[in-house]
Symmetry: C2
Subunit: 282 residues, 2 copies
């Protein structure tokens, strides 16, 4: 999926944020931003925004020596989400349509995105967002496919959101599915890695695997043969978040995308409003 013009200021904003998380040295932050802007000039050469994001965030890591600038943010997000876990379970228990609301809980976790805002107060935001219904919802076809399915792959997005995904996976495990949870191969922005998935308690309900790919999205051609095999052979795939959609949305294979539309280009593409939650097959 193309790099939208709106990705340019957004990438710069993220680069400033990442630089400041990685170092307190203002001269270094400025020097990094000079390099980032020069990198950004090549934006038409990138096939998607996550590929551009990768080089920018790698640059920040290389120049500062900080291997994981968002580590503290990710740990805090997971800790806060784990505090919310019983609240979310109780909320789900009170609902009629368990599948719909398990999906809705998982996508509400997509609000926890340091790439969009680091200042969110998770608990308050989640409570307000939880009851907002899905603006696109291919639930019927999903439920239909689910009845035939034995193995499901969930492609994760952000740390913290992982705990919300766990609730969806627990619902699917109760239906007897074999579950695989995939994460980035190394830290990029606040995206979940193996460590984050384990810290979120996902190992209790799914097999956790690295995709082998380090973009804040998923480039299948860069993934490990093991992950490619999983991707090819599972019965169902749910992909979380915009970054995964931007890199997987044009593939032939049917995938269920579960995300919050966080910016105008993606919302426009999907025919929804910014901040709407969607679940759709493509």
């Amino acid at each position: 999926m193309e790099v939208f013009l709106e990705c340019l200021p957004c990438t710069l904003r993220q680069a400033i944020e990442a630089s400041r998380m990685a170092t307190g040295d203002r001269a270094l932050q400025q020097a990094i931003m000079e390099e980032v802007v020069r990198l950004l000039a090549a934006f038409p050469q990138y096939k998607s925004s996550p590929e551009l994001g990768r080089v920018v965030h790698q640059l920040v890591k290389e120049r500062t020596g900080a291997a994981d600038p968002y580590k503290r943010i990710k740990m805090e997000s997971i800790a806060k989400a784990l505090q919310l876990y019983p609240v979310l379970k109780e909320f789900l228990a009170g609902q009629q349509d368990q599948l719909y609301w398990a999906l809705k809980i998982a996508v509400t976790g997509n609000s926890i995105d340091a790439a969009v805002s680091t200042k969110i107060e998770i608990k308050e935001q989640i409570e307000a967002e939880l009851t907002k219904e899905l603006a696109l919802c291919d639930l019927e076809s999903f439920a239909e496919e689910l009845r035939q399915a034995k193995r499901l792959l969930l492609i994760g997005d952000n740390a913290g959101e992982t705990v919300f995904d766990r609730i969806l996976l627990e619902k699917l495990a109760a239906d007897g599915l074999e579950l695989i949870y995939a994460v980035r191969s190394e830290p990029v922005i606040n995206d979940a890695t193996l460590e984050d998935a384990y810290a979120s308690g996902l190992a209790e309900v799914a097999r956790i695997v690295s995709t082998g790919c380090n973009v804040p999205g998923l480039l299948l051609e860069e993934c490990t043969p093991e992950f490619q095999e999983i991707f090819r052979t599972v019965d169902l795939i749910i992909s979380k978040g915009q970054g995964n959609y931007e890199t997987l949305g044009d593939l032939e294979r049917g995938i269920y995308f579960l995300l919050k539309a966080k910016c105008a280009p993606i919302a426009t593409l999907l025919g929804v409003k910014v901040n709407d939650y969607v679940f759709f097959r493509r």
Copy 2:
């Protein structure tokens, strides 16, 4: 005043907005953004953000042939502000402290800024913003200087805001001051030009002059000798908006700055919160 790192994404966002206002040709919009990003890489060479903004907006105008991409927005802002004019006059008439509230009305007009958001609903926004008090307020020293003053220069900012400035000028004219209202020498973003100042009815209360400078701010060394003479000889100067502050804030001469802090770097510099209104002498 330095180009802040936050100016980089903000400048890109403005460039996208301006390109889309200037042309519907998406390939041209993309080509312009490629050039803008290359220009942006030289950001450390610019002394202030308005100087960077000038080259970006000039590029948009040159590449699209649109001499004034914000013309429609500016005309709409002025028309809406003129509709509000009687409401604002009535509001002021109901206040005890006429000088404070005339200043507050003028600075509330600084909310009308297409550079920050083109989607604002002016009337609703203004009504909500009008009663918010000034977070910094050098009213006493201003009132003191005003008693001695004969000539006052008001340096305008955005079109539409001009109508709000008119209310402040009408209050000052009633006190017997000779008033001069200064505008940009040519269209840049939604900043007021001679045409906009006349359309706002300012000629009834002040002498309208062009500064001779075309940045979205004011570089004294680029101004006409006539304007430099005015600047040097008036008793009091009020400067509206961030762009003027970013270019005039480090001068020796005392100036009263009246603005809404629209971004984190400026708010931090002034020790206020983003979206606070301020009136201070420097």
